[in-house]
Amino acid sequence: MAANVQGKTSVPRLEVRGIKKAFGPNVVLKGIDLSVCAGEAIALIGGNGAGKSTLMKIIMGIYTCDDGEILIDGKQAKLGKPAASLAAGIYLVPQEPLLFPNMTVLENILMGFNENEAELKKRLEEHMQELGFNLNLQRKANTLSIAEQQLVELLRGMMRNAQILILDEPTSALTFGEVQALFKVVEDLKKKGIAIIYITHRLTEVFEIATDVAIMRDGMITLEGPVANFTKEMLIAGLLPKDAQAQQQDEKAYEPIRYNDLKPVLEVKNFSGYGFKDITFNLYPGEILGIAGVVGAGRTELISTIFGRDKALGGQVILDGKDITGLQTKDVLKAGINFVPEDRHYHGLFKIRSISSNTTSALLGSDEIGKVNMNRRRQKQISQKYVDDFRTKIVSLEDLIGSLSGGNQQKVVIARSLSTSPKVVILDEPTRGIDAAARADVYNIIRQLKESGVAVLMVSSDIEEVVELSDRAITVFQGRINGEFAHDEITQDVLTSASFGIVQERTV
């Protein structure tokens, strides 16, 4: 990384060296070097699970790193708790603002200060004027829009005289106008000599506000340098794995699906809901349809609404000729759709229950494992079958699922979704946070599913994954489908561009 530091005259305001971090067996950061100088804004980009948020939490003192050091103004700093990082002039504006919802804006900003309130208020007003904010300080935080909440977080940082400001995907929930307002603020902050780390998913933003850019992939920084040295295409290339091209050549002969002979099992027609609009697509038995897009594009909202987790606002979802629009989850399940949720911990796992309990939890609504009494033998048989099929590494079916590694947990969650013998399986980020070996197993499971005639709808932020598995792919951008690709059109390049809102000229 030394090469990148060349040309910078001053000592970096913040520098991290060789940061490593693992959660259990899961290595998230594999030695990160990164530096940012006063008045610079470094854009940090990368897919989900690349480790960006973890790195920022380490800098903020919320996590401690396993190895590596953090230097502030060239001096080694010992950060282990948020208070220490705050004292060192670091402030993190988290992706989901951590405001006190029942307090006023003023109280939120001044919370935790020890100075005189009148003085603080004066300083606050100065900051607000400087930045041209117009926000009623007496409003309660839970009445603020996300953008306003982010402004409050920014003010918090400035009031603390933060010299290093971290913005974690600040625009992911903002509308276009709000984004422009935020950019103006960031420009002003840069002029004031504040060092900014700007995490984003949107490539265009990099060129608008960043001075430098770094790309993170699988816990490493794969590319770093001044923005001027790069083009969008180069950044996209940096987001792709090194062996991407080699991998594509390795691919086995692909057997095309003869769509003309098939009747779609799932038809989605002009479907609208909270977070997505006018979505139309068909899903055929025995195919994998990949849905690509960045976080916040509305993919998760789309599929969870199909699954009956949220209210549909318009359009139709038809499964095998039967209208299932707006049904409750349990009825959607019965109709023949099952779901592997994105957030395994929050929506998927029953952590302190056994593996067999977890595997068969979706069968409690059917007679498969008994009418009134639990048929424990049947429950075990079913669970064992999936453990064998999926090569899940377990000691005993009675072990708590919380004791398994992420990959094995995910296999159990997938097993659960297959246990109801669905016609359509929806996978939301099927390989998030699991290691390479487990990933290969999950891919095999998905392929087997397809071969058995099940229709698979797969949402993934991992473009590589979409390319590798999909028979067809669609991309979702800002709540709408902005691209549909047949198998031979799917490349990482095309999908990445479309996910970031750049629709390239179609070749076919």
Binding site: F307, R309, T329, K330, V332, L333, K334, F339, P341, Y346, H347, G348, L349, F350, K351, I352, R353, S357, S361, A362, L364, G365, I369, G370, V372, N373, M374, R416
Partner: protein
Amino acid sequence: MKNLLKKVFKHWELFLVIFLILEFVIFGAANPKFLRPKSIMNSIVNYISVCIISLFVTLVMITGGIDIQAPSIIGLTSIIIGVLWSDAGMNVWVATLIAVVVAALCGALSGFFIAYCGVQPMVVTLGGSFLYSGLALLVSGFSATPAYKGISGFPGKNEAGEFISFRFLGKGTLFGIPMQIVIYIALIILCIWILHKTKYGEKLYLIGVNQQAAEYSGINTRATIMSTYVLSAVSAALAGTLLTANVNSAKYNLGSGYTLAIITAIVLGGTLNTGGKGSILGTVLASLIICILRYGLPLCFDVDTQNLDLPVGIVLVLVVLGREIAGQGILQKWFKKKKV
């Protein structure tokens, strides 16, 4: 030592069994009179309401809820039975049935607010405890008997002086075992079946561990949660019936003051108050431990019968502290600090 502690706390029921045996050994050695089966059974009968209700409130707590209104339903049931029987002239069994139905409706009402309106269970059942005890007092106003006196004279003593009919429930025996204990045992078996053998029981656990994930598994979590409050209310009605038959008096305020005792038994039994973990066996063992403690201490160590809260409280505090310390590895933390 550390590992041993961890193991014992891991197999909670084992710990409780050891505790119970120790009680028998110590009390038995201190005073041989302690071991008379009749007295032991009597100590359980004296505490039967707590024993029975705690079984079903365990189901509520497994789902992550709490029920502090059940004791107020004891009094409500009792006074309804009394008024319907004595003042409305109904058959006592019909009166009982009506009382149980009313109790079930009370449970359903609170359960509805908790499950469908998302109000905290603690607050709703606190309101419920005021409401249902208030209703009990109002119902007592329909009686010719003054509220403080209690309606007595329930049927069943035959010429031979044996308890029959309604009072058989409270005073009768079956093969020498008090009827109340027979019913308690039946309810224990019922609850073990419900919680540990049926699909419904499985759902209760899953909801308690992760309600969101349960929804994704297609479980109707709201109806299920609501049903647990109905069950606990019905169990309170049953306890109220037994208590009425036992003391031969229907009173609006029977059972008041049992709230904390019920929660204590369940918590001591190892049920997590955040839900998802616990067992009927644990609750039963903990109830018995408390019964025996309350019976043995006055008999063997001359502790005043009025002052049995203290030992029970000390046991509860020590046990929950011990569990946290063992579970969180606070001991290890201390150990490490010393080393540094």
